[in-house]
């Protein structure tokens, strides 16, 4: 009896031991828990079923994506399945960037589910089915530990459709983690890429502006993994700057991978070569704030000018001496004063914008590029420079007129004091105003208003502060000779700017026109002398006015009628380039030359564009640059925008430029052209051509190497085939 019992116990022990040896669906190994998970345990014949490999990792430990990055290996699974059941490929959820010092890996932390699809044939035998898998992986933190496990999950094949849910925990894993798989790129979205000198630009068009994006390439050795990916938002997507692997030879036909956008969206994409639009310039609110900030600062600095500072100082003193009763109204007066300044500036801006609008409708071509406008601007700035240098004072008559208004009592008085401040400040504000005006003419109305408002507020700010706290007047330096020196010093950069304008005009309109402009300057100097000798007297002022009119006439006459053939340029000895080498631009022509293997240089220009003319004389048409173009076999195309051609306008927009001049150098094998700066020198052009040659040399060397390798392997194959 006892023997039987012992035997039974032994037998039971063996059976249970055997049972324990059977593989389970999960394993807890070094630093992780790995498990085979099925949301439903029934495999319906003729249908597909889901199963997944689930990892729960200890903090800091990670497993890898299909492209693990600089180091690491993804998990692998080898199935042993009953007949009629086949396993599909692993699917990988969207990975994370895992930096490791100077290296970058791609993988997962905390928990991850790798789902895959089982296909069950109609012929599969109904009944219990054991799905057996050998899994191995690499899990790392500071060290790496390869791991493996044999897992098994019990399922049932059924020949009639039935759903048997797995345990709640398994179903929950699936529910929670299935969404981490990247989705295919929606049909409304596209992705294109272009090669650049250092790598690629990848543009993803999702239909809305994207602030951030990260790209994970499927293929290894394409990208430099640790390099940061700069994301530039577009109106309808984002452009990523990707650095290529240092040893990548040749250009890939496509870029495949996963892109992760904000809000947890991840898409599988395959980008094909295409044109990348220029990114939305980051000015917008940022740039506007910066410009406004500078204008505000400029306004504050204007207070140091001799035209404004003594007024500020004296007013400050009178504020200190104000009676106690008036003190609380002082600040309000200060605000009204500020309003006066702002209002005057707005009037000025309004007039400017009106002129600009009128100019474009009247067809003046009211752009800074028009030679007549530039000549008049040069004259005006010269005149203002004379005033700053001390030859005469502007605004004294205005000052006396404004003085009576400012003496009005109460708030009206304060308002007109503000206006007076602007008027009186004009001769001193010329340098700043000139720059502000120039900038304003090129910008939208909103930007212009913002800039001038900031300038006005800056001008008003110190006085406003003093009305708030009159005691601070003690902090002001005493007015003195230093103010006059400061004012005269500002004339120097102004004259420098005038010299540059004269040179530009001489380049494009000839030396006779330049001489006429200088004659106009002489007339202006005479007018200035008159104003300085007899200040604020009616008849001399009228006489000066007439002389100024004569100066303006000379300006215009010189720049238009007297404009002659351009004097021989600096390298006349070497002779100029042959203008007939330049062909009219068309996109088709660009493509044709590139297909022929020739690089293409496009000069976007217009006859009314002064800097374009200057660049052509000084750089593009010189013998040195022409020889460099010939040597590199560059096709030369000129896109003439004088008549505002639509096709050219579109080409400019696609290059990220809004106007001329623009210079694009296309390599024969790259879709993204190199854009040269707006001010050219022969050196800049030859440098760009050298860079192009180097790029094309490495590409052709790589191509010959791969061709040679191909030929060698084919020869070996042929030799092998013979045997």
């Amino acid at each position: 009896m006892r023997v039987l019992r012992i035997l039974f116990l032994v037998f039971a022990g063996l059976v249970s031991a055997a049972g324990a040896v059977a593989a389970s669906s999960s394993a807890d190994v070094a630093h992780l828990h790995v498990q085979l998970v099925m949301p439903e345990t029934t495999l319906n014949a003729g249908q597909t079923a889901d199963v997944g490999l689930y990892f729960k990792l200890e903090p800091g430990w990670h497993v890898y994506w299909k492209n693990a990055g600089d180091s690491g290996e993804p998990p692998r699974i080898r199935w042993t399945l009953p007949d009629g059941i086949k396993a599909g490929a692993f699917q990988y959820p969207a990975p994370k960037r895992l930096p490791l010092g100077p290296l970058m890996d791609f993988g997962y932390e905390d928990e991850v589910l790798f789902p895959l699809t089982l296909s069950v044939e109609k012929s599969a035998k109904p009944g219990p089915a054991s799905l057996h898998a050998k899994v191995d992986w690499l899990v790392c933190r500071e060290v790496c530990i390869p791991g493996k496990a044999e897992l098994e999950v019990a399922a049932t094949v059924s020949d009639h459709p039935v759903k048997v849910a797995a345990s709640a925990a398994d179903a929950d894993i699936y529910k929670r983690l299935l969404s981490r798989l990247p989705e295919p790129l929606p049909s409304s979205a596209t992705a294109v890429f272009a090669t650049t000198a250092t790598g690629f630009k990848l543009a993803i068009f999702t239909g809305r502006a994207e602030r951030s994006a990260a790209f994970f390439p499927v293929e290894q050795n394409i990208l430099d993994n640790p390099a940061p990916q700069k994301a530039s938002p577009l109106e309808n997507g984002v452009v990523l700057d990707l650095k290529k692997d240092a040893n990548l030879t040749g250009n890939p036909q496509q870029l495949a991978g996963v892109v992760e956008l904000s809000d947890g969206r991840a898409y599988d994409l395959v980008a094909k070569p295409g044109a990348i639009p220029a990114a939305v310039p980051k000015t917008g609110v940022e740039g506007l704030l910066k410009a406004a900030g500078l204008a505000f600062l400029g306004g504050m600095i204007l207070n140091l000018m001799p035209c404004v500072f003594p007024v500020l100082f004296i007013k400050g003193l009178s504020l200190v001496q104000a009676s106690g009763e008036e003190k609380h109204t002082l600040f309000r007066h200060g605000l009204v004063y500020t309003a006066g300044i702002v209002a005057s500036f707005w009037l000025l801006v309004g007039a400017l914008l009106g002129l600009r609008a009128a100019g474009s409708t009247l067809g003046w071509g009211f752009q800074f590029q028009s030679p007549v406008f530039v000549a008049l601007m040069a004259g005006l700035l010269f005149f203002l420079g004379l005033s700053l240098a001390g030859q005469f004072e502007i605004g004294l008559t205005l000052t006396s007129a404004g003085g009576t208004l400012a003496q009005k009592q109460g708030y009206a008085g304060s308002f007109f004091t503000g206006v007076l401040a602007v008027v009186v400040a004009t001769p001193c504000t010329a340098p700043f105003m000139g720059a502000a005006v120039g900038f304003a003419l090129a910008q939208s109305a909103l930007v212009t208003f913002a800039i001038f408002t900031a300038l006005a507020l800056g001008l008003a700010a110190p006085y406003l502060l003093l009305t708030f706290q009159p005691a601070w007047t003690r902090l002001l330096p005493r007015p003195g000779a230093w103010m006059e020196v400061l004012k005269q010093a500002t004339a120097v950069p102004l004259f420098g700017f005038v010299i540059w304008l004269v040179w530009v005009l001489a380049q494009t309109r000839g030396s006779v026109a330049a001489a006429a402009l200088l004659a106009a300057f002489l007339l202006l100097a005479i007018a200035g002398w008159i104003l300085g000798r007899w200040p604020a007297k009616r008849i001399p002022t009228l006489a000066a006015g007439l002389v100024i009119v004569a100066a303006i006439a000379t300006c215009v006459y010189g720049v238009t009628t007297l404009a002659g053939p351009v004097a021989a340029s600096a390298d006349s000895g070497k002779g100029n380039a042959d203008a007939s080498r330049w062909e009219p631009w068309s996109q088709a022509l660009v493509d044709k030359y590139r297909a022929e293997g020739r690089p293409v240089f496009v000069d976007f220009t217009a006859s009314w564009c002064l800097s374009c003319q200057v660049n052509e004389r000084v750089a593009l048409r010189t013998a040195q640059v022409d020889a460099a173009f010939k040597k590199a076999n560059v096709a030369l195309l000129k896109a003439d925008w004088t008549e505002r051609d639509d096709a050219i306008a579109q080409a400019l927009t696609s290059l990220g430029r809004s106007g001329v001049p623009a210079y694009a150098l296309y390599a024969s094998n790259s879709g993204t052209p190199e854009l040269l700066p707006e001010a050219l020198t022969p050196g800049i052009v030859t440098d760009a051509l050298d860079k192009l040659a180097a790029l094309e040399a490495t590409d052709s060397a790589a191509k010959t190497a791969t061709d040679a390798a191909k030929a060698a392997s084919e020869a070996a194959k042929a030799a092998g085939a013979v045997h």
Binding site: G101, D224, A708
Partner: protein, 210 residues
């Protein structure tokens, strides 16, 4: 007086900027196949100074090593790495094992520990570079252990990447794997171009010093 103070302030700022830029650790360099291999200076496990230019005129193999890494162990327990070292050093190739693990990280060893390891596993490199500040690793953008770099007698990199084409830690996978070092040295010594000059290295990540 005030002006002089401002000037000295400015020059101090400038100097500090210059000094700061010199102290910024150099970023990992890019190693390009066909380009000159970066020059390096290091100390070996016998205290001798080593540099790349002293071996100009010979083939040089750099083997990144971490004795705790399972992938490195695969090639040492199977005897594969030792056999490669013996075979190629006998043909006049200079074999330099590089240990770039920072102090306190896996793979870091002192000179004595390394020398006893070498005799224990019967390894036969020409020298072992103790690169615990990871300088050589940064020069070569070393990613994993093992990672192999082969340099020709003219000092140009002709191979950079994995030791073979089986990225596992199983010593069984050494037999039957295509060994890229053999392929590169064999081709180069026969005057032929290296068929596979660049592969993704596999192994544990190099444990860089900060």
């Amino acid at each position: 007086m005030v002006w002089k103070f401002q000037l000295s302030r400015v020059s101090f700022l400038f100097l500090s900027l210059v000094v700061a830029s010199a102290l910024v650790p150099s970023l990992a360099q890019e190693v390009r196949i066909g380009a000159a291999a970066p020059e390096f200076k290091a100390t070996d496990s016998n205290g001798k100074a080593e540099s790349l230019d002293q071996y100009r005129g010979k083939y040089v193999v750099l083997e990144w090593h971490n004795q705790g890494c399972p992938y490195t162990k695969k090639h040492y327990t199977s005897g594969n790495m030792q056999a490669l070292q013996k075979e190629w050093t006998a043909k006049g190739v200079v074999w330099l094992t590089v240990i770039s693990s920072a102090k306190g990280e896996q793979g870091y060893v002192t000179a004595d520990q390394e020398n006893s390891y070498l005799s224990r596993v019967h390894a036969a490199p020409t020298a072992v570079l103790l690169d615990s500040d990871s300088k050589v690793a940064r020069l070569y953008s070393a990613k994993t252990t093992p990672q192999m770099v082969v340099i020709d007698p003219a000092g140009k990199v002709i191979y950079d990447g994995a030791i073979d084409d089986r990225p596992t830690d199983d010593p069984e996978d050494v037999k039957g794997a295509k060994n890229y070092v053999n392929e590169a040295l064999g081709a180069a010594m026969a005057g032929k171009p290296v068929p596979t000059p660049y592969t993704r290295p596999y192994g544990c990540s190099v444990k860089y010093a900060e």
